[in-house]
């Protein structure tokens, strides 16, 4: 059996190890590996040991769940009361929220043990975690490679065994793409099924929290714990029951393969790995259909227009008045705000703020923002059409395996292409899971993306669980990180 949560949980239940001992062993491993991996940007060891003590009490009292006492990590854009949460941006340096995010509130109530906050692209804007103000995290599989992004620290921490699981956020692929690069499972649920309260916004209509884990089952357990309607997030949704049973009738599963996802830019090894994955489903009796999503070709620009527009507005609040960094020498409050933002934000964030301002400004609104919203509707209806004849879609998660650190950051629209396969499901708000399906050149993992219809999160997870069992490729822990 793959995964680690149930294994650790039963050890805790049986008393083979206490939550406090488990936390201590993770802390030791973090201290050893993190200086190289840079997966964590801040640690909360004191809090972890306190949480572990509470977890031990819950276990003794017979009130434990599968997540009680399990050490984990939050992406640096997910708020927890009193802990540094900086979005890996200079502008939020020193920021400690005085409130819990909805997801951390739920997990801590179950006795989760928080080890720290993980590295990410600044404000989740990037595909390699290289825009982090703390420097890029490194891929545990090959430390000369990027982790992917933006939830790169979360993926690296899970892969390296310095967190049993981690939460990430996905706006255009930020959970799935690093999961693919690092060889973990990453799940972006249907937009709205997990409350965004306490998730520092990048693009509100796209942002969604989800788990990174070592198995589909682990991801499902975590998803189960964090989903649900929340009165503090009006866009949150009630999810159907039984979403995470992971059972599927493979013979009646209709599997679609959208041809546009295999176009230019997708490497041959990735193409053939995904085709091989399709055959795994085919051999088990699933019905395979070749389908089309013509609007795929506008998905990336649509994504960048909408996400930058929302970001330019969401990031307006960083003015140095209420929290975070404040510039020191200024003539008046206006000057202070401009200087704070100019020094506080990194280049990629500034580019996206400027682009967002541009596409919303009068004279350009109709040609960019409004048109992108219309095309978003088009993409949604094309998916709707496809999901009338398919239960799941199989696609690559990323066009390539993890690239070398520093290889692409010079040319930024080039790196945007790394999101080409993940962005469509984000635009449509659909659930999508990425899991390892093959090992490519240099031993680098290749990810398979399984997308299902809106609120059919269980279908995508069950199909992924089937593949995981059947294909024998699992998201194993990278026990020996070559430093």
């Amino acid at each position: 059996m793959s995964g680690i949560i149930k294994k650790l949980s039963s050890m805790l239940q049986r008393g083979e190890v206490s939550a406090s001992e488990l936390a201590a062993s993770y802390i030791t491993r973090i201290e050893k590996l993190n200086p190289v991996l840079n997966a964590y940007v801040s640690t909360t060891f004191e809090e972890a040991l306190k949480c572990a003590g509470e977890a031990d009490k819950m276990i003794r009292a017979g009130m434990a769940t599968a997540l009680t006492g399990i050490p984990m990590a939050l992406k640096d854009n997910i708020c927890s009361d009193g802990h540094l949460t900086t979005c890996c941006s200079g502008i939020l340096s020193g920021f400690r929220p005085y409130y819990d995010s909805a997801v951390w509130e739920k997990l801590s109530a179950q006795g989760a043990v928080l080890l720290g906050k993980t590295n990410m692209d600044e404000f989740a804007m990037g595909s390699a975690s290289e825009t982090s103000c703390y420097g890029a995290p490194k891929n545990p599989v090959d430390v000369t490679r990027v982790t992917g992004g933006s939830s790169g620290g979360s993926a690296a921490a899970v892969k390296a065994g310095i967190a049993a699981y981690a939460l990430g956020s996905d706006t255009g692929g930020s959970i799935r793409q690093p999961a693919s690069f690092c060889g973990t499972v990453g799940f972006k649920p249907t937009y709205g099924t997990v409350s965004r309260y306490g998730l520092i916004a990048y693009a509100s209509s796209l942002d969604q929290i989800g788990p990174l884990a070592l198995s589909v089952e682990d991801a499902a357990i975590v998803y189960d714990a964090i989903r649900g309607k929340d009165g503090r997030d009006q866009t949150s949704l009630t999810t159907p029951d039984g979403a995470t049973s992971l059972e599927t009738d493979i013979k009646n599963l209709r599997v679609g393969v959208p041809e546009e996802f295999f176009g230019e830019g997708v490497s041959d090894e990735v193409k053939s790995a995904i085709e091989e994955s399709v055959r795994v489903f085919e051999r088990a009796g699933a019905k395979i259909k070749r389908v089309k999503i013509p609007a795929f070709k506008v998905a990336l620009p649509v994504y960048y227009i909408i996400s930058c527009a929302e970001a330019s507005s969401n990031l307006g609040r960083y003015d140095g008045i209420r929290y975070g960094y404040r510039a020191e020498n200024f003539s008046d409050i206006d000057d202070m705000i401009t200087k704070t933002r100019t020094y506080g934000f990194g280049t990629e964030v500034k580019r996206r703020i400027m682009l967002g301002t541009y596409v919303l400004s009068s004279g350009y609104f109709d040609a960019y923002y409004k048109k992108a919203c219309l095309l978003r509707g088009q993409i949604i209806s094309e998916f709707d059409g496809v999901f009338r004849e398919c239960d799941v879609l199989l696609t690559p998660t990323a066009p390539t395996t993890a690239f070398s650190l520093g290889a692409k950051s010079a040319n930024s629209t080039q790196t945007y292409l790394a999101d080409i396969c993940t962005v469509p499901a984000s635009i449509a708000g659909l659930p999508a899971v990425s899991l390892p399906c093959a090992v490519g050149a240099g031993g680098l993992p290749i990810g398979l993306q399984i997308i299902s219809g809106r609120l059919r999160d269980g279908t995508a997870l069950a199909a992924a669980a089937f593949f995981e069992r059947e294909a024998g490729v699992t998201a194993e822990l990278c026990a020996e990180v070559k430093l």
Partner: protein, 473 residues
């Protein structure tokens, strides 16, 4: 050339909800700085807005009371601009789909000031500049507002005053706002332009921001119209600009011109969903609307026969109307009730605020009882006034002041006896009367009034005295 004034108003009204528009913080005025605050209304990272149902209901009520069409599908938008009192750097407002559209406010003359729209939005915080510091208080941040936008239908400062007062009255009548201009719960932006009399085209306009008193609005409009007329008469052009009115000098000053106009980059608020309002709910709110100010005014004058002047003095205070209407409902005559309110009660309420609050020690029930005695001729108006004055001062019931005996009145025999006493006690007055100085009889009435503490029927007494003096002749 003669010019015609053309003016439209944008009026912000704070809604009297218990909580803010997007969070559960209290809206109470006057708390210590930043104590009615939370992550949502201070724009903390990760906080999300949650729309208050009552804000929508109140805005619908305001829309229906001003004859607007209600959009049953509505959404909110972000208006992006950076200012330290706006913690998110955007104001959540409504752009292309306001909750209410196409209404009007009717003036007493019957003229209708058309309303373009009414939308909901959040208020900003407050800045204080002091000792080289800018201090910021977000207590007011997120307090719900409606913005009422009128068409340029107002053509004089006097009409502007009536329009603002009517709006104020309507909002108070329907209970959605106290509209206290001095506390900022009602504020007006005034657009003004001039055009040659008879012309249909609109001239270039200026906008005077943030007016918080009706008399300043009148003054500012008069000043600005004069300024524009001067420019136009001398062949100049009006520059489109945003102005500020200086209350001390009575003049307007340019804050910013068209060149530095803002680009608000409106777009639909992604953190909130489209609100769907059942038609049935709109009808429910409509049917629960109280009688509106102008309806009330017309009922007072046309049905109850109260003079226009008196009706005006009554209907401008909601609490007074409530009291008056209740008295009438309890069988008190409208004229005697209004006279007692405007005379006796108003004389104890010196300020507008006191009349507004109408916090008096007399219940409508007692008032109605008292007026019914006057209506039925059991006591005269003087006694009613005296009794009411005492009740206003020390409280108590009508029966504490007026006994069965008072109500029984004074018998014919008793009155005749009193009249004889009066004549005997005032021989001079009696003689004068007899010698043709008819006014001298007044001195005799004074005696009777004093002796009966005002409750004697003076008309009857007059008849008796004339008879007595005549007989003596």
């Amino acid at each position: 050339m003669n010019y015609e004034l053309v003016s439209g108003f944008e009026t912000h009204v704070e809604l009297a909800t218990a909580t803010k528009i997007f969070c559960g913080c209290s809206t109470k005025f006057g708390a210590s700085p930043n104590t009615h605050c939370c992550p949502v209304c201070t724009g903390q990272p990760g906080a999300l807005p949650v729309l208050n149902k009552k804000v929508v209901e109140f805005a619908i009520r305001a829309g229906l009371a001003t004859h607007c069409k209600i959009n049953t599908t509505t959404h909110l938008d972000r208006k992006n601009y950076c200012y330290p009192d706006l913690p998110k750097a955007y104001q959540i407002s409504q752009f292309d789909k306001p909750l209410c559209e196409h209404g009007y406010v009717e003036l007493e003359s019957g003229k209708k000031i058309r309303l373009t729209r009414i939308h909901i939005e959040e208020d900003a915080g407050k800045l204080v500049h002091e000792r080289g510091y800018t201090f910021i208080d977000y207590n007011r941040g997120g307090v719900p507002l409606i913005e009422i936008v009128s068409e340029p239908d107002i053509s004089s400062p006097e009409e502007a005053r009536e329009y603002v007062e009517k709006l104020q009255l309507i909002m108070r009548y329907i209970g959605v706002s106290d509209c206290k201009m001095q506390e900022g719960s009602m504020r007006c932006d005034v657009n003004i332009s001039l055009r040659p009399e008879g012309s249909k085209e609109l001239g270039t306009r200026t906008e005077i921001k943030n007016m918080n008193s009706v008399s300043f609005i009148e003054k500012a409009m008069a000043y600005e119209a004069g300024r524009q007329a001067e420019i136009l008469s001398s062949g100049g052009k009006i520059e489109q600009a945003t102005l500020r009115f200086d209350e001390n000098t009575g003049e307007t000053y340019v804050m910013r011109t068209k060149e530095d106009a803002q680009d608000y980059r409106y777009f639909p608020e992604p953190d909130l969903l489209t609100v769907k309002i059942p038609q049935q709910k709109v009808e429910e709110i409509a049917s629960a609307l109280p009688e509106l100010p102008l309806e009330k005014f017309r009922r007072y004058t046309d049905v109850l026969g109260i003079s226009v002047q008196n009706a005006r003095l009554l209907y401008r205070y909601k609490a007074v109307c409530d009291f008056f209407d209740r008295c009438v409902l309890l069988g008190a005559g409208a004229k005697n009730t209004s006279n007692l309110i405007l005379g006796t009660i108003y004389s104890t309420l010196s300020t507008e605020e006191e009349k507004e609050a109408f916090d008096i020690r007399v219940s409508a029930e007692d008032m109605a009882e008292l007026v019914r005695y006057v209506d039925g001729g059991k006591i005269n108006i003087t006694l009613a006034q005296m009794t009411l004055s005492k009740m206003l001062k020390v409280g108590g019931k009508v029966s504490d002041y007026i006994s069965e005996a008072d109500l029984a009145g004074i018998s014919e025999g008793e009155l005749e006896e009193l009249c004889r006493e009066a004549v005997a006690a005032n021989p001079k007055a009696a003689e004068d009367y007899k010698s043709g100085k008819l006014k001298a009889i007044g001195g005799l009435f004074g005696y009777i009034k004093r002796a009966t503490q005002g409750k004697a029927d003076i008309k009857k007494a007059e008849e008796i005295i004339i008879r007595l003096l005549g007989n003596d002749k």
